[in-house]
Amino acid sequence: MTNNQPSISSKDKIPFYRDERIIMIFAQVLSTVMIIGVLIWAIINFFKAAEARNMTLTFGFLKEAAGFPISNPPIDYEPGMSYIRAFQAGLINTLLISGIGIIAATIIGTLTALARLSSNWLLSRIALVFIEFHRNIPLLVLLFIWYFVVFGFVPPVKESLQWPGPIFVNKRGVYLTWPRLTETGGIFIILVVIGFLVSILAFTMLRGRRKITGKETYYIPTSLFLLMIFSLGGWFLSGGTPFQLDIPYLKGFNYQGGLRLTPEFAGMFLSLSLYTAAFIAEVVRGGIQAVDRGQLEAARAVGLSQFQVLSLVIMPQALRIIIPPMISQYLNLTKNSSLALAIGFQEVFAVGKIAINQAGRAVPIFALIMLTYLSLSLLTSFVLNIYNRRIQFVMR
């Protein structure tokens, strides 16, 4: 039986309403028209409503004087300065709290994950309690706990808690002893930076040579030694006093000097980084556990040491799993920093909120706020995605 004639043939011209190519194009055009139509309607409606309420949608007001104070400006700011300046101050506060928060959350989270995975029962339980506590309490509640409960119960200025450092803690904030650069300190910093770069260079080169020649090149001690030499050189060049310890001291009703963290900043920083650390701990733990057990066994069986197993086999594979959800956690942390409004730490959202009350320009200001968060988020994920792509499997 060699019958090549199909019983149902499409030899005749296919009518357009049954041609799958035409159906697909039609569906595309239809959906595009609908979406654009809805958008146009929304925009026209918005402008009509804005006109009816006499709202101006320009950004010109940003140059006018803001007229409100910011309690903790990171840059020079007076109420007489412009809205732009106020906005910049808020933005820098946001960047500060998110940047430091991300670093702290990553370190605390990774250590917690390792503790959680450790075979030490006590350590693992402590990590579990830490994670569950912070994961299951709303961030706002945590924020209030730190700000109102913890900082609400620290003593007043005159009876400050004194911790080694010295660090002073009182109702007005945390006062850290802080090394301030002296006039010659710049030389020290420059030499330390150079030393750091040189030692990284030496580390990579010697480690590479160790890999190629197999000869022990002592890359770890050599690079540490180089860093030390440069640091010491800088120390002597700066006359032995690159830094001056700025110790907080009580003057009148308040502490002077040192580095002051306001209760708002400290509360925000602690709750934000601990909260996110709990999530990061779970991300890291999940990533490590997702690496097949056989990998560990194979790496052990060829004789790699514990540390080599972790650094050469487990972590490179775990990172691929960890990075994408880690990006989400970083974005969450940045966006969650807007909750600082609740305790009066004035980052970009809090500043924007006051500006709306003052200037009555809700739409441009919200647009500006959204644009700010959007750019921050896109920038973060852009940078991390480049890294993520670099470490993905070359296979497939």
């Binding site: 194979a298 060829v302 497939r396």
Partner: protein, 247 residues
């Protein structure tokens, strides 16, 4: 024999909580011998082979590999792992490294060989297992049989005195089993000391010096392939052989 055994196991016991997985295993393996261990699943054969390089800890008894006693001493464990190569049922290649890097990883970082030497030896080994042209590929792009041969090359790269095979062909498609068994046969003929957990009785018959039949954590019977095949002494052995051979 007056010669020292390279692997010496005396009364090895292992418990998983209440479950008594190994109930007193005695075994001596001499240099150049090929040992095949077979038995039903759950009989402890994989557990036993994994105690030899300490992937599983034995709780009682003595294990000595090449004169090194296996104890809680980390240095001894690391030495024994350098003397023993292991091939797993699931290959367990490192997916983030190329085939060549899989083979050179341990020689470079554990034996501290120069990269050039490690690369050269690795290429020779890949030649030996018949897949030098795959050196730059990643494990994910290889067939199961090829992956298992890379795993054999990876284990050999550390120049072990003993090779342990834990059901090396169980996860392979039928047509790939042969290529792996051929590689293992070549290896046995080159004089390598091997302990192989497998149900490939054809391989056992052709290559093994001695067979061990495990059941319920005990050695039920051992002997040369002829003894076990033609004249098994225990009912349990007869039954098991009849089940795995007749199909």
């Amino acid at each position: 024999m007056t010669e020292e055994p390279i692997i010496y196991c005396k009364d090895v016991h292992k418990w998983y909580d209440d479950f008594h997985a190994l109930r007193g295993i005695d075994m001596e393996v001499f240099l150049g011998e090929v040992i095949v261990i077979f038995g039903p699943s759950g009989s402890g054969k994989s557990t036993f082979i994994r105690t030899i390089n300490r992937l599983e800890e034995h709780q009682q008894g003595q294990i000595m590999v090449d004169g090194i006693e296996l104890s809680h001493d980390v240095r001894n464990i690391e030495r024994i792992r350098m003397e023993t190569g292991m091939v797993f049922q699931q290959f367990n290649l490192f997916p983030h490294l190329s085939v060549l890097q899989n083979v050179t990883l341990a020689p470079i970082w554990v034996r501290k060989w120069p990269k050039e030497k490690a690369d050269k030896v690795a290429m020779e080994l890949l030649e030996l297992v018949g897949i030098p042209e795959q050196a730059q590929k990643f494990p994910g792009n290889l067939s199961g049989g090829q992956q298992q041969r890379v795993a054999i090359a990876r284990a050999l790269a550390m120049q072990p005195k003993i090779m342990l095979f834990d059901e090396p062909t169980s996860a392979l498609d039928p047509e790939m089993i042969k290529e792996v068994l051929d590689t293992m046969t070549d290896l046995a003929e080159s004089g390598m000391t091997m302990i192989v957990v497998t149900h490939e009785m054809g391989f056992a018959r052709a290559v093994a010096d001695r067979l061990y039949f495990f059941d319920e954590g005990l050695i039920v019977e051992s002997g040369t392939p002829e003894e076990i095949y033609n004249n098994p002494q225990e009912e349990r052995t007869k039954l098991f052989l009849s089940q795995i051979i007749q199909h």
